[in-house]
Structures are given as C-alpha cells and as structure tokens.
C-alpha cells in the first residue's frame, strides 16, 4: 500500500489552488485532511498526476458568521468545528453529527470540506449539512459559484463540483433558536461510517404547529436524501408522536437503498424509518416556541 508517483504542489493561496487545478486538466486532486484520500492513494485507487495540498492556505480555515449564515471554511478541521461555540449555537445538528465522525485522531486532521467533497452516501457531515439546507461555495479560475447541497450530491462519491473547482466554504443558514434537532445513526462499531443515519430538524409555534421540518436520510440511497413529502406533511400540522409516526411511510417512497455485505436494502429501509422516527421525536422534543 504505497501510492503511485505524483507531483506535489503546496498551495499557499486559493488562487494557487485553482491555478494548479486548471493546469492539472482533470489529473490533479486536492489534498485536504487526507483521511479519505490518503488510503485511496495508498491503495492506488486514486492515481492523480498532481496532488495539491491545501492545508497551508490559511484563508481556507476558520468559522464565522456572515450575515445570516454560519460559514465554515473548507479546510477547517472537524475537531475545530466540533469544539466551536458558534457551531454549537447556530448549527447544533452539525456538532452532533461531527461527534460521530471517526475518532479524535481522524477529526484532528479531517476537514469539513473534505467530507463534503468525498460525499459518501452514509457519512455524517453531508447528511447534517443537507438537513440544514447548507450550500457550498465552489471556486475555479472562472470564478465562484454557490451550489445548494440538494443539487450538489449526484451519486456515491460524486458531486457537482467540476474537476477544476475547489470547495472553498460551506454555508449554513443559522438555525432558529427554538428549533429542535437530532442526529441518529447506527454503525457496527462506534466511529465507523454509519450504515444508516437520520438527521431531523423541527420548529413549532406556540400552538404546537410545525413551522419548519427537515428530515435527511443517509445510507439508504446513492446520496443522502431529504424526504420532502414527509416534511410537507409535517409543516403546518399540529405535531405529536402519532402524527410523526403516521408520516414515516413517506421515507420508503423516497429512497432506493442498495445491498452490500454490511446490510441489505430491506434492512436499510426499515432502520432508516426507525432512526427517522427517533430523530423526529427527539427534534420535536427539543423544539420550543
């Protein structure tokens, strides 16, 4: 398990990254935290001509509030995001999700943007970000564009990011203070990739009427999926446990799980529903007017 040869570019600025990507002509790859790319290089599943190391680009690291958004720069370490009071306050669902990502050693290197770029259909950060209506900022020599995550995930490890683009930042609409959220997953062992996961956000008004709802399911389709039909049924409804349970069959209509050695499609579907129920009930429980 030794990588094939590559040229190494240590970028010091975002401009250098996009220049190198442009020159790379599809054969260059961005190295952020390396927690996924390094094994792929070692197994020679990835054989880029050029590796562009973005870890020294200080502009790509940091967490802040810009307008009504929480912005996490792409190369921010997962550990930093997990410890961030801003994340905990404005996107607690994300903090809850990151706590389930890997282990301290991998969170100390792994980045928020790297996880979104890798786009594993069962991984935690993409799922939470999707539930949070996040968007990503992608930059190339041609400029910057903003893509909603709903349009960003195209398939397993496939995204709308072009070969010549680098993911610069992730933008999370600030969660309403009264919203409840919850993240539930099942993995064989703690710290493993989830087999199935559910992320939920619920807001209610003083009368207990749902004013906003989000449910995202991971590990049950080629990408993380929002369950829009379920969300529609919750919005405007007076919520209670029975009502939440009554909308769960929408999940089965919205996702198309696959089989692998760790779980079959039937398992993924049933467990997605079970975890969604738990996440929605907990989010509802945490929601206050």
């Amino acid at each position: 398990m030794k990588p094939a040869k590559f040229d190494y570019v240590r970028a010091e600025s975002i401009d250098q990254i996009v220049d190198a990507l442009d020159k790379g002509d599809g054969e260059a790859i961005v190295l952020a935290g390396g927690q996924t790319l390094m094994p792929m290089l070692a197994m020679r599943l990835a054989r880029p001509a050029t590796v562009i190391d973005i870890n020294n680009v200080t502009d790509l690291s940091g967490i802040g509030i810009v307008g009504d958004e929480l912005v996490i720069m792409a190369c921010t370490r997962q550990a930093e995001a997990l410890a961030s009071p801003l994340v905990r306050e404005h996107a607690p669902l994300l903090a809850e999700a990151i706590a389930l990502v890997g282990h301290q050693q991998t969170r100390n290197r792994g980045t928020v943007g790297g996880s979104l770029s890798h786009a594993d259909p069962a991984s935690e950060i993409p799922l939470a970000a999707l539930a949070l209506d996040a968007s990503v900022s992608l930059r190339s020599v041609a400029g910057t564009r903003r893509v909603q995550l709903a349009d960003y995930f195209l398939g397993p490890m496939m995204t709308a990011r072009a070969d010549n683009e680098v993911l610069v930042s992730v933008h999370f609409p600030i969660m309403s203070g009264g919203a409840g959220s919850a993240f539930h997953e099942v993995s064989e062992r703690r710290g493993d990739f989830a087999v199935v996961a559910a992320a939920a956000i619920i807001e209610v008004d003083g009368a207990g009427i749902c004013t906003a709802a989000a449910l995202a399911i991971g590990g049950a389709d080629a990408t993380p999926r929002r369950i829009a039909a379920l969300e529609d049924k919750l919005q405007g409804a007076k919520l209670d446990g029975a009502l939440i349970r009554s909308v769960l069959p929408e999940i089965a209509l919205a996702v198309a799980p696959g089989d692998d050695q760790h779980a079959g499609a039937a398992y993924r579907l049933r467990v997605a529903t079970n975890l969604a129920e738990r996440a929605l009930l907990e989010a509802f429980d945490g929601a206050r007017a």
């Binding site: 398990m1 094939a4 064989e188 062992r189 710290g191 050695q261 079970n274 738990r278």
Partner: protein, 799 residues
C-alpha cells in the same frame, strides 16, 4: 484472589511487573520490520483478482525493466526450483506453492513477486506486470463443494473433500435408544481469525560463505524450520531462525511459510537480504490467515431431567484453497468433545472441504472455539426444549470435583477441576440475582435484554496425537519443549528458551519459575531466545502450552542446577547430599549451618577449580531439560481412544447484553468471567490473556467475518470491512480466579491463552438468544451482525 497451590511461593502467583513491557513502552521492541540490514531489497506481491482462473500467461518484461527493480518471479519459475509446501495430511493431488502455478485458487492468491530497491518502487513494478487470466466458476459454498463431482479446487485431487472421518466413542446407539428425547441443531461458525495488528513479515539473508540462511520473521509455528527446509530442499541445519524477534500478535496465525520461502529464495538468487512485509490488503486476502469456517449438525440425546447422554456431531469445515494444517482443527477438539459435561458417548463425523477461498490456518484454540460454541448452543437448546433453566441444566451435567481425573469417551483425561465452584464464583461476581432483575426490568420497559451462561474448557499443552487420528502414518507422540539454564562464573543466571514470543510474557514466566526454584529474584535473571540452530527443541507457543511445557522444563532445568550445586557442595564439605540444604544458592549442612558453600564459591569451583569437582562431573555450570507432554507418548487404542491434551482449564462466562430492536445492534453491557487455570504464575499476564481472549470472542460473536460474495470475490480486505472490536465494544469486564492445581505440571499451572476466546462467542450467543427469547426466535450463526438480528426481530414482530 491469588492462587494457593499449597506451597509457600515467593514469586509465582505474585503481582510482579512483566519484564517484556519496558521495551514495548519505550519504543525498543524489535519487530521484524524494525530489523535493518545493509543493502536490503524489498518485495511486493501481485494478488489474483479472480477466485478461480487459469493463468494463460504472465508478462513481466516491463516490470523488470523499471529502474530499481531487481527481480520479478512467477509461480512457474519458482516451482521449478522448490518443492511444494508440505501439507498436514498427505494429499498428493494438492500442490501448494508460494505463488500460484497455472491456476489461481482464491481471490488474492499471490501470482508474482517483485524485488526492488524500496517498497514504493516494488509496487510500481506490480502495475507493470500483465497477467492473462481465463476466469472459471469458483467453488464457494462448502456444502456444494462437498457434493461437487466435476468442479474441483484441485483437479488432480479428484474431489474437494480433504478429509472425511467418522468416530464413535462409547455406546452411542444404545444411549440414543435409551434416552427420553432427542433434538437436532444446526449451528454455524463464521470465517474469522485473530488478525493481529502486525501483519506477517519476514527478512531473509542467504550467506554464501557460511551457507546459512538467516531468517527473521514474525513467526509462531512449530514446524516452521522443517517446512522451510523441505520446501527449499535445504538441510535443516542450514536454516537459522532468529527467535528473538518480537511478534506483534499472533494467537495462532503467524505461520508465514510461503512468505518466508519466497524471501529466502529471492535472497539466495539476489545475494542480498530480502524483506517481505505484508501490507494489510495482501495480508487479509492472501496471507493465508483465515480461521475455521464450520457447519455443525448435531443430534443430542437426553433425559427429561436434563441429563445429556450422547451426541452425534457432524462438522463440515471449509478449509479454503490450501489446507495446510487446517483439517487438524477438526481433530484437536476431540480432546474436549463433550465439554465440561458428563456425557456418556459421542459420535463425530468430521469433514474438511476445499473451496476457492483463502486457506485456513490455526486460530486460537485450534478448532475448540467453534466446537465449544456448538456444545453450548446444544445444551441451551435442550434446556429450552425441556423448559429448564440454563444454569440448572449445566449444574446437572457438569463433571463433579470428586470425579477427577475424569476420562471422557474419546480418551482424554481431564486432570483436575471444580466446575461447580467456579460457576458459583461467576454467579456471585455477576450478582446473578440482581442481574436477572435488571434484565427483567429492561424487558418490562420494552427493551431486548439477555444474560448468557456458558461453561467451557480450555485444553492446554497438547501432544499432537490428534494428527494420528486423521492419518495413522503420522506416529507423532511427543510435542516437547526444551530450555537451558546457565549460571555464569559470576553467578548470574541466564535462561535460554527456543521460540519467539508474541505477547504471552514467556520471558517473565520463565524467569519467575527459575527464580522460584533457585530462590533468586527473577528480575536478576536474564532470559534470551536462542535461534533455531542453538536452542533446544521447541514446538512454539501454540495450544495454551508454554506455562505447562516451558514452565515445567524450566523447573526441571532449575532442579538440575540445584542438584549440581548440591553435588559440588557435598563433595567439598564431605557430607552426603541428604544432609545438605539449598537456600538461595547457598548449600549448607542441615545440622551445622555454618558449614556451607556459597553460590559464589560453587560457581568458582564449577568454572575454575576442576580439582574440587566431584569425579566425573563436567566443568561449567549449566543444565538442559526437555519436557515431554505429561500423559502423552501413547498411540490411540483400538477404539481410537487417546489422551490428547494433559491439562484442562475451565471458565464460566456470564455476559449481559441489550439489543436495539430498531437496528439490531447488540451492546455488551456487562461481563463476568470466572476462570481456573490452576496455579497462576503471573496474575497480570493471566488476567490480560483471559480478558483479551474474551474480547476477541466478542469480535467473533458480533462483528468479525471474512466475507465472500456468491462468486467468491473477497469482501473484507480492509479494516473498514473486517470489523474488530474497539474499546467501545468491550464492556467493563469483571474477572475472578479460582485455582485447582494440575497434578501434571511443575507448579500446578495449566494453560490460559485461549480460554476467554473459547467461551465468549458462545456466551454472547447465549445472551443474544436469551434477549430474543420473548420473541420466540433464536440465532445459531456467527457473527450475529446487526442486520441479521434486526431481520429476525422484525419478522417475529410482524408475525
């Protein structure tokens, strides 16, 4: 709890530091990867992508042309120069070479090897090798393999059956006829292994001047040097295995014979040291380190009161492509085939089949863990059938303390034990009554909660006669272990052992026993590992045997040192030996302690004063001792009855689990284990072995599986797919010891390296089945992965 073997011990059974640990915590361990020789070349292997394929051609030209590459070797070239690796059974139609010849027989089998300046370049060269394969349909399912009449893993063998034997011990038919009831049960043990964190590695250096092949390897294997010699066609005394290499975990699997043959062959060809360190992918698929993969169909005959009378066992084992010693993993469990229970007769049909999967090697317990799992599931099934408590049925069937030594139908004699007391200790430790209430409260709250109860044996110190049961031409009746003790002219003591060590603390054990016997502080005693040319016979640390065998050899050698000291003193003090007393090296007159010879004086005489040595005594101060397996040395009788293992340790396991019905995920919440391995030599070592084995068993029960798809593709090549328990999956284990000394060993010690693993899978299965019992379903297949449990739970709930 400390052991009390009934004698006043100074060092044995006392809390003492483990001497090996200091080098490990400071980064001073010497593993094979840490050994650097000048000009070493690095090897990389090319695995087959197909489980079964004809190799039409291999083009190595481009790889050989790469700068920094020294050699590319294929199976055809190698086979012309070496013999096939000797198999355990004599199977002339099966030829096992380190690289595939003409045909690949499992996904991941090594097809070619590259030697280059460094490991990176070696892998670059792998990319340049072009192999033309003709893929064939693979033999994947062991039951299909057994019945197969045309598609053979080894066409020249003419069958996929490697072994098929049938044994009957005692009046099975009579016992079945006389029993009130009978039950059938199928249980399945999944393919897993020990998967040490260190892969296998080897460094070989042929020296044309000395004509000696030096091998440093992460090895744990009794026949390693013999197999190397027979495969390479070398005389045995031209191979020097360096046994002072630290081995990063093994538990049976570090056999690396094909790897070492390759490194040795290439080293001689290239006149350079060659190192082959498996990477994780090569190791998981092609390292030949998978364990038993077994289907049991068992019939049990029993009475209404729960007394079990007889068993008819059929075991079908999937040995993978190259059997090695795998079939013998069906034979070793004969030594404890009825478990700790008083079962009157037993029938055993054992079948080993070849499939297009990675070859099987010995794994911790050598087949005993699957067998114990089967026995315990059968006992639980009888209890369930009769509506008897699982504890009660065990109490009714356990062999009683007064019955030892107890001979079981296949001929092994259990040396000693007090099973009821150990079980009671486990119940007390688990606070069993409280635990029942806790389980019932959890159930009342709608959770799936269960308690496991398992009692199991750990045979230790085996004599290998099981091989004869399968192959009557293999008249092997010893499995000895030797050591040497030297006292230098300053009076310092050095113990020389053979074999490598892979975490068992042999050096500590050896020094403790020498210190105990010679009455010196063990910390002042040096222990070294001789190489295979300089050390006495050893059969390596398999079979929970080192405390039994090396420990007893150490005591024997120490006794000879003492005898020599006494003889020198008797001669110089002009007293009969019977009137002398040995105390911490000083020998004195019992009647007048002022008349004495000190240790320094004795050592001086031994090394310098020949005129003061008794007539006929050689100068110097050393002793050797080679210990024969107690009770071994006999061939089976005409009914195939034979004692295979001398010492039988015992454990009782009581885990508590909860299952999330929405996901099927099992949490092992608590675990109590009581164990009796006779006299404990070092309590920390034994406790670590017990708990570590138990954790390994939790892995086998819930997570670990070398998975193949229906076409024979291997699915578990990484640690993201082969799931070993992390600290989060292991509960807070409570443990308690009991000591029933063995009458057969120097200090009453028995084996302890396997027992936790030999009971934990059954115990977790027992707990899971208890948790599922309100749903009326059971699971009899390991590993019990969460998706399988969830499906069972869902099906029961939707009925």
């Amino acid at each position: 709890m400390t052991s009390d073997p009934g004698r006043n011990l100074h060092y044995v059974a006392k809390k003492r530091r483990v001497r090996e640990d200091k080098r490990f915590v400071t980064g001073n361990g010497k593993y094979v990867q840490d050994i650097v020789l000048p000009d070493t070349r690095h090897a990389a292997v090319l695995p087959s992508p197909y489980p079964r394929a004809r190799i039409l051609s291999i083009d190595t030209a481009a790889a050989e042309a790469l700068d920094g590459v020294h050699m590319v070797l294929t199976g055809a070239q190698l086979a012309a120069d070496c013999n096939p690796i000797r198999l355990g059974l004599k199977l002339p139609g099966i030829k096992w070479y380190p690289l595939a010849v003409d045909m690949t027989r499992y996904a991941g089998e090594w097809v070619a090897i590259v030697v280059a300046d460094d490991a990176y370049i070696a892998e670059d060269a792998l990319d340049l090798i072009e192999v033309d394969y003709e893929p064939l349909d693979a033999v994947v399912d062991p039951e299909v393999a057994f019945a197969e009449t045309e598609r053979f893993v080894h066409p020249d063998h003419g069958s996929n059956v490697l072994y098929h034997g049938n044994f009957v011990w005692g009046g099975v038919d009579e016992d079945f006829a006389a029993a009130d009831e009978r039950l059938d049960l199928r249980v399945r043990w999944g393919r897993s292994a020990t998967v040490p964190i260190e892969t296998f590695g080897v460094l070989a250096q042929w020296n044309e001047g000395t004509e000696i092949l030096d091998i440093w390897a992460s090895i744990q294997m009794p026949n390693f040097v013999e197999l190397m010699a027979s495969t390479l066609g070398y005389p045995l005394n031209s191979i020097r295995l360096h046994q002072d290499v630290d081995v990063g975990g093994s538990y049976g699997v570090k056999r690396g014979i094909k790897q070492s043959v390759l490194a040795a062959y290439l080293s001689r060809k290239l006149r350079r040291p060659v190192r082959l360190i498996e990477d994780r992918l090569w190791n998981m698929a092609g390292g030949d380190a998978h364990g038993p993969d077994r289907i049991f169909d068992t019939q049990v005959a029993f009475n209404k009161d729960g007394v079990i009378r007889s068993l008819k066992i059929r075991a079908l084992d999937d040995a993978g492509a190259y059997p090695g010693r795998a079939p013998f993993q069906l034979a070793k469990p004969i030594s404890a085939l009825v478990g700790p229970y008083r079962i009157n007769s037993v029938q055993y049909e054992a079948i080993s089949v070849a499939t297009n999967k990675t070859g099987q090697v010995p794994v911790r317990g050598f087949g005993q863990a699957p067998t114990n799992y089967m026995i315990e599931m059968v006992v639980d099934a009888v209890a369930r059938h009769l509506g008897l408590d699982r504890l009660e049925i065990r109490r009714r069937n356990l062999i009683e303390a007064h019955e030892f030594p107890y001979k079981i139908p296949p001929g092994s004699e259990y040396d000693s034990g007090d099973y009821q007391t150990v079980l009671q200790k486990c119940l007390d430790l688990a606070r069993y009554k409280d635990l029942l209430q806790r389980r019932d409260r959890a159930r009342a709250e709608g959770r799936l909660a269960g308690i496991g109860i398992v009692t199991n044996l750990e045979p230790g110190g085996g004599n290998n006669i099981f091989e004869y049961l399968m192959d009557p031409t293999a008249e092997i009746t010893t499995f000895m272990e030797g050591c040497e003790v030297r006292v230098d002219s300053q009076g310092n003591i050095t113990g020389i052992m053979g074999t490598t060590t892979s975490g068992q603390g042999h050096e500590t054990m050896f020094a403790t026993i020498l210190g105990e016997e010679l009455e010196f502080d063990p910390d002042d005693i040096r222990i070294v590992h001789g190489d295979s040319l300089s050390s006495l016979p050893t059969r390596s640390p398999i079979a929970s045997r080192m405390a039994i065998m090396l420990g007893s050899a150490a005591a024997g050698a120490a006794g000879r040192i003492k005898d020599r000291a006494m003889a020198i003193a008797a001669f110089n003090l002009d007293l009969p030996v019977a009137q002398l007393e040995y105390s911490a090296g000083t020998v004195s007159d019992r009647n007048d302690p002022s008349r004495k010879l000190t240790w320094a004086e004795i050592c001086f005489i031994a090394y310098r004063a020949y005129h003061k040595l008794p007539e006929g005594m050689e100068p110097g101060f050393q002793a050797q001792f080679v210990f024969q397996v107690p009770g071994g040395g006999k061939l089976p009788d005409e009914n195939n009855r034979v004692g295979i293992y001398p010492c039988f340790s015992f454990q009782a396991h009581i885990p508590y689990v909860e299952i999330d019905p929405g996901t099927g995920r099992v949490t092992v919440v608590d675990y109590a284990i009581a164990h009796d391995c006779g006299t404990v030599i070092n309590p920390d070592i034994v406790r670590g072995m017990v708990i570590g084995g138990l954790a390994h068993g939790i892995g086998a029960a819930l997570y670990e599986k070398f998975a193949y798809d229906d076409e024979g593709q291997f699915l578990s090549a990484t640690f993201a797919d082969y799931l070993m328990p992390s600290v989060h999956e292991i509960p807070d284990v409570k443990d308690v010891e009991h000591c029933t000394p063995s009458p057969l060993t120097s200090h009453g010690q028995k084996g302890s390296g396997e027992g936790g693993y030999l009971g934990a899978p059954a115990a977790i299965a027992s707990a899971v089945n208890d948790a599922l019992s309100p749903l009326g379903v059971t699971v009899h297949e390991l590993p019990m992965r969460m998706h399988k449990l969830e499906a069972l739970i869902n099906e029961a709930n939707t009925k």
